[in-house]
């Protein structure tokens, strides 16, 4: 343990109660506080999808000394904003305030962590909020395709359930089950506190010790509640699924490849390949399929890296008059072409410039940096991972990326999802 008054460093420090914390200064007038619990959708018990999400909402809702709504009023009166974030791997609370209000936020976050009100009435409120959060994305006519990517992209891992959860699986949840889950998963020894922005380092260290150092560590049995680490299976062969989006306006297609866990040493190569294909206005996919061939109206390429496994998802909305299958075929060809068509130095420089700016921009505001540090710690166990990625990109050549692509993508099985409009037949995904 570091002395309470020592200056915070880049690496997280551990308080005696197990809480990890780290702080980074950012120029400006704001400060951000992020609490990350190492518990997300992956940790939901079978048959209780969304329990982590529900617990996060309870922690955010009310506590011993914060009545429902009081936290939000406190932050609003300070001119700040706060929110919560549920992910497959973590659950997070983030608040940004004018820097002179930092101590009050630390008090409030320590209070929420320490004394959450886990009672039947607050459980009902959290259930309602969860139902609202699940409902919102369903307004999108392509919501079923997004759901299918998650559900069929992963084969065995709980990631396939997503993070928001299923309200139906939580409607009969009793408060004791909820309390037990909270005790096992949302203790201070599973949390990370990130503070960024304008602050005095010594003063911050005192505040952290004062407000967070006093939180009781969980009882020993909580640690025994750990379950086996979930694993993802390798896709044995390529597969095509059709789903009918009878009322959607344009056909759509998605291609899904499995990628390794977020802390895999090859992650920088995945990122650079992703940038070459999908970042910017001149990424190869948009350049070829939207601008040159006019097959697609809209394209996206996502690298969803998670703690245990991840997905590379290429998704396209077909241009008017096209159907899903040829768009999927062209999309696949374009993704695979990265292995064959040489990457020029200019193209590589451009991709690196986009990646570099994306990474460096996380340091510009307290809000972004807190998010970036918290996510790097939760997914990769290393707050310095983005900086290491940048160093790795510099060393990579176009040939390195192509060789990697041949090995990891060209030869790998792919899941193809075809979503035609109208009366498309097939397996309902």
């Amino acid at each position: 343990m570091s002395a309470p008054t020592s200056a915070p460093s880049f690496e997280p420090q551990r308080l005696p109660n197990g809480l990890l914390w780290l702080a980074r200064p950012v120029a400006g007038a704001q400060a951000a506080v992020r609490i990350v619990y190492r518990c997300g959708g992956r940790d939901d018990p079978t048959g209780r999808s969304g329990l982590s999400h529900l617990t996060l909402r309870l922690v955010a809702g009310a506590s011993r000394y914060l009545e429902p709504g009081q936290f939000n009023r406190l932050i609003a009166a300070a001119g700040g904003r706060s929110g919560l974030e549920i992910d497959e791997d973590f659950a997070a609370l983030q608040t940004v305030v004018p820097a002179n209000q930092l101590e009050r936020v630390l008090w409030a976050e320590a209070e929420r962590m320490s004394n959450p009100r886990l009672e039947p009435d607050t459980l009902d409120t959290a259930r309602r909020q969860l139902r609202q959060a699940v409902q919102a994305p369903q307004l999108n006519p392509y919501a079923r395709l997004d759901l299918a990517v998650q559900r069929h992209g992963y084969l065995t891992h709980p990631y396939q359930r997503g993070a928001l959860g299923d309200p139906e699986q939580l409607k009969d949840l009793d408060i004791e089950t909820m309390r037990a889950f909270h005790a096992a998963r949302f203790g201070c020894d599973r949390a990370l506190l990130v503070v960024t922005g304008a602050f005095d380092e010594a003063e911050l260290a005192r505040w952290v010790m004062h407000y967070f150092g006093s939180i009781r560590p969980p009882m020993p049995p909580a640690a025994a509640a750990e379950s086996a680490e979930p694993r993802e299976s390798r896709r044995p062969q390529s597969q095509t699924l059709k789903l009918s989006l009878a009322q959607a306006p344009l056909p759509a297609a998605a291609l899904v490849w499995q990628i390794p866990r977020a802390d895999d040493p090859a992650m920088p190569t995945w990122q650079l390949a992703h940038a070459l294909l999908g970042l910017g206005r001149s990424g190869r996919l948009t350049d070829t399929l939207v601008d040159e061939k006019a097959l697609a109206h809209q394209l996206s390429l996502r690298l969803d890296a998670h703690r245990d496994a991840g997905l590379l998802v290429a998704q396209a909305l077909a241009a008017h008059g096209q159907t899903a299958a040829p768009v999927a075929q062209a999309l696949q060809q374009e993704v695979l072409r990265l292995a064959d068509e040489p990457v020029s130095d200019e193209e590589l420089d451009k991709a690196k410039a986009l990646l570099r700016r994306q990474t460096l921009s996380n340091d510009w505001t307290a809000d972004r940096l807190a998010r970036s540090l918290g996510t790097a710690c939760a997914l990769r166990g290393d707050a310095g991972a983005p900086a290491r990625d940048m160093a790795a990109w510099l060393k990579l050549s176009g040939a390195d990326v192509q060789q990697f692509w041949r090995r990891q993508v060209v030869q790998a099985p792919v899941l193809t999802l075809l979503a035609d409009i109208g009366a498309a037949a097939g397996v309902a995904a």
């Binding site: 002395a3 309470p4 005696p16 400006g28 007038a29 011993r64 000394y65 709504g69 406190l74 609003a76 300070a78 001119g79 700040g80 305030v97 004018p98 009050r104 409030a108 320590a110 320490s114 004394n115 409120t125 139902r131 609202q132 409902q135 919102a136 369903q138 307004l139 999108n140 006519p141 909270h182 005790a183 005192r206 010790m209 004062h210 407000y211 006093s214 009781r216 969980p218 909580a222 959607a248 306006p249 344009l250 970042l279 910017g280 206005r281 001149s282 601008d291 006019a294 109206h297 241009a319 008017h320 200019e346 451009k350 410039a353 986009l354 570099r356 700016r357 460096l360 307290a366 809000d367």
Partner: protein, 470 residues
């Protein structure tokens, strides 16, 4: 685990158990209340610097000492309010076509070259259309600002505006229109504007897009991309002198047309249009599950931006507390009466109950007294939002203010907020959201109409043709 333990008592106990002297030494106070709130900081006005080139191009610099990158944005007057009658969509198409081809040193740059040039700077080129402006935004390292300004100059002074590009962009715009009509979230602002302003509000249709000719685009470009009507905005670690030098190098030769601008005429100046009488409409959409609910009320023309924002903020707080759904709110000013909008996404089953509660609560919430605490809360939130935007995207904040003709307000935002009194705020709120002045719009799947109609009498089914025009 007993979560109700008093942390102070616990801390002392733990310290005894561990023998640590460090734990209790710092815990002199109780934890039952937050530390005293420090006085709110009062930031000074934003120190922008301005200059003008002989050709009339206005240069604005927001100095950001130490900023790693510089935002560069060229702002023209061709926003979608300038769409001519029957050719709605022209402003968007004309702006998109700028990135489809241009000339540099006599050589043609294709869309891929332009995209590459923007990406090489680290952030893709962005084309942004607001009601009043068309904008091209880039971002660069300090030593790449010349590349950024050079590219902006190419796109606006030497665009190709080719026929093939028009066909490509038109086809994409038609697809975007199809998507917009199927997605309640995308459709909501347009349908709400039509409901509020009637036919005075330009809205794209596939027919209006089909009518566009290359000559329309050329005329529109000539009319609205002119140096004396444009602003070159910088936000970053550079001086006005440096910014002016860049502008002179690449835009000093941008000539002012000698003849008065000629081109298509906007369909109607919304600044003279009055809001439509309040209606309640339900436009069913087969796609998606659930519906988007929008209510809107007019705010008198000339209401100061700070007052509008305080009213919006306070009402947002009140409605979120009374009707606990994730509401969104905005105040849209297009020159005439502003539209004050509250929106939320609801599952079909919740619509009737929420409608009934909304109908009852809206006038009550608006009429509640504005206490000094209410005013202070709204001021803190409005200032906090401003600071957040300033940290996140200062150029966007200024561009938005320029587009609305409210630059001075944006620069002196904290001071303008402090100048609003509770009685004035109360007056505005109490005069809004009255029954006869509140529009309701439901988009999507709100279930069978009868329960919703019972909850909000007068709610009438409508069609896409009636709202959008086709």
């Amino acid at each position: 685990m007993n979560v109700d333990l008093n942390r102070r008592g616990l801390m002392v106990g733990a310290a005894i158990a561990t023998g640590s002297a460090a734990w209790p030494a710092l815990a002199q106070d109780g934890f039952d209340r937050p530390p005293e709130a420090p006085p709110a900081a009062a930031p000074p006005p934003l120190p922008i610097e301005q200059a003008k080139l002989p050709n009339g191009l206005r240069i604005i610099v927001l100095p950001r000492p130490g900023a790693a990158r510089t935002s560069v944005r060229l702002i023209g007057e061709g926003g979608w309010l300038r769409d001519p009658g029957g050719k709605e969509g022209l402003a968007e198409v004309a702006l998109s076509m700028l990135a489809q081809g241009a000339k540099r040193d006599g050589e043609e740059m294709e869309s891929a070259d332009i995209a590459y040039a923007g990406d090489l700077l680290g952030l893709p080129l962005r084309l942004e259309l607001t009601p009043a402006t068309a904008e091209i935004a880039l971002e660069a390292l300090p030593d790449q600002c010349d590349d950024a300004v050079n590219l902006l100059a190419d796109l606006t002074q030497r665009p190709l505006l080719a026929f093939e590009a028009l066909e490509h962009i038109r086809s994409r715009a038609v697809d975007a229109l199809v998507l917009r009509r199927a997605d309640a979230l995308l459709l909501a602002p347009w349908a709400a504007r039509r409901q509020f302003r009637g036919r005075a509000q330009p809205v794209q249709t596939s027919a209006s897009l089909k009518r566009l000719r290359r000559e329309d685009v050329l005329g529109f470009h000539r009319q609205y991309w002119r140096p004396e009507r444009a602003v070159l905005l910088f936000a970053g670690d550079l001086s006005l002198q440096a910014a002016r030098g860049l502008a002179e190098d690449f835009m000093g030769g941008w000539r002012v047309p000698k003849l008065p601008p000629a081109g298509p005429t906007p369909a109607l100046a919304l600044s003279t249009a009055t809001p439509m009488p309040a209606t309640a409409q339900f436009l069913p959409l087969p796609q998606g599950q659930g519906c988007r609910l929008i209510v809107q009320t007019p705010v008198p023309r000339g209401t100061p931006p700070a007052l509008r924002e305080l009213a919006r903020t306070l009402m947002h707080q009140r409605i979120a507390a009374r009707l606990p759904w994730p509401w969104e709110s905005e105040m849209e000013s297009l020159g005439g009466a502003s539209s004050w909008r509250l929106s939320v996404t609801l599952p079909a089953a919740a619509v009737p109950e929420q409608l009934a509660r909304l109908k009852e609560q809206l006038p009550l919430l608006a009429a509640e007294a504005v206490t000094p605490d209410d005013l202070a809360l709204a001021q803190a939130l409005a200032q906090g939002d401003w600071e957040f935007q300033l940290a996140e995207a200062p150029d966007a904040l200024l561009a938005q203010a320029l587009a609305a003709g409210e630059l001075d307000d944006a620069l002196q935002w904290p001071q303008r907020l402090r100048a609003v009194s509770a009685p004035v705020l109360q007056l505005l709120m109490a005069s809004s959201w009255r029954e006869g002045r509140t529009h309701l719009l439901l988009l999507g799947d709100a279930g069978p109409p009868e329960p919703a109609q019972r909850a909000w009498p007068g709610l009438a089914l409508t069609t896409m043709r009636a709202v959008i025009g086709e």
